[in-house]
Assembly symmetry: C2
Homo-oligomer: 258 residues x 2
Amino acid sequence: MEAKRPLILVTNDDGITAPGIRALIEVAKTLGDVVVVAPEGPQSGMGHAITINSTLRCDQIHVDKGEQIEYSCSGTPVDCVKIAVYNILDRKPDLCLSGINHGSNSSINVIYSGTMSAAVEGALEGIPSIGFSLLDYDWDANFDAAKHYAEKIIKQVVKNGIPDGVCLNVNIPKATIEEIKGVKVCRQANANWEEELDERIDPRGRKYYWLTGVFKNYDKGEDTDEWALANNYVSIVPVKYDLTAHHAIQKLNSWELE
Amino acid sequence: MEAKRPLILVTNDDGITAPGIRALIEVAKTLGDVVVVAPEGPQSGMGHAITINSTLRCDQIHVDKGEQIEYSCSGTPVDCVKIAVYNILDRKPDLCLSGINHGSNSSINVIYSGTMSAAVEGALEGIPSIGFSLLDYDWDANFDAAKHYAEKIIKQVVKNGIPDGVCLNVNIPKATIEEIKGVKVCRQANANWEEELDERIDPRGRKYYWLTGVFKNYDKGEDTDEWALANNYVSIVPVKYDLTAHHAIQKLNSWELE
């Protein structure tokens, strides 16, 4: 990092006007020059989706007072990172920050999360990238503790960098700064969603469904993000985009495939 | 596996009428009882997106002749797997097959691919799952070699199972059965897309963009899927949904976070 202020790209998946991204912008402005490229509306659950079958809009707007430059984008969180890097910014940003998400992205949620997919896309571009999520879905959630820990963690990333091919998945418990016991580096808990399709009938008599479900954690490990969060620690999981199950290669090599 | 015929769930991301899924259904019908739950239209590039901000439709339809049961779904490929498992099927399927995709899902494409995300979702549900992709974007592509190798690989999965938490990403080169040299178990090549935002002006004078780009492979390893495919081998990459970068945990534990 040069002596000049870092260039910080900020995005999210709750949309550019969400209180969570406003909180993250506040933190980022104290640490560098901020450019926001974020979805115009909610993009939760969009995972690593990109817009290839339709067009994209991306327009400069003003949301808050301040020196940050802001663009509102019609696409997904991953689209936002791509447009920022390849179209908007003059140079590669020094940091890519995503969030603060309204709701958890711990354990398997990482795979469905637009917030985290934006951070993964940042890592793919070689940018030190962090996704932040607060375990409170409320639009009026209190982001004080999340901001406190976001600042601490961003400063460590600026100081130490992040290993190549890795980004950070940071989740913050719904608790006050005083209640939070500290920070734990964790692995992703083995959990998933038991879905319940909520079946309804529309005014014209046709069936439709809402996807809903119950989160099930099968993993009691004290080295998991779920354990840390349940015990009022901030969890950091290093996340990679090499999805290869390297441990399985040897086994598959014994198959009869010729 | 009991003596009775396996129950096989088939999905894709190109839509239920795509020739690729029709080819996969043909193979699957020779091996078991087939239920198709697939998107009503193209869902390429949807990654692991799920539909949580709007409703879903899923209706039984008839596309081809045959004994397979087919449902057309308004959602993403991952939605299709969830609806199949939690709403349509009486029991957990013995196999989840996704594809055959029109176009490559090798290396980093795995992360953007609806086809592969459906297979990952199947693995999350504890179902042996395979995504198949042919390196030919043509709607009228020749699926003969892809069908030949899909059958071989599915039979090995039925015989041997797949390690827990893992699914298979199978890519087939654009070549004849005679030209293909065999099958290689590989790791995901380290590659990404250098994007180019194709900027245009709409009839009302406003800017819009098409996402487009060039695939860049930075990884010359002969153990990668890119190498195998370039040398006319079918590639199999075992893929996992635990995204934890376990190798990075020790390093992060040295940070000053208290």
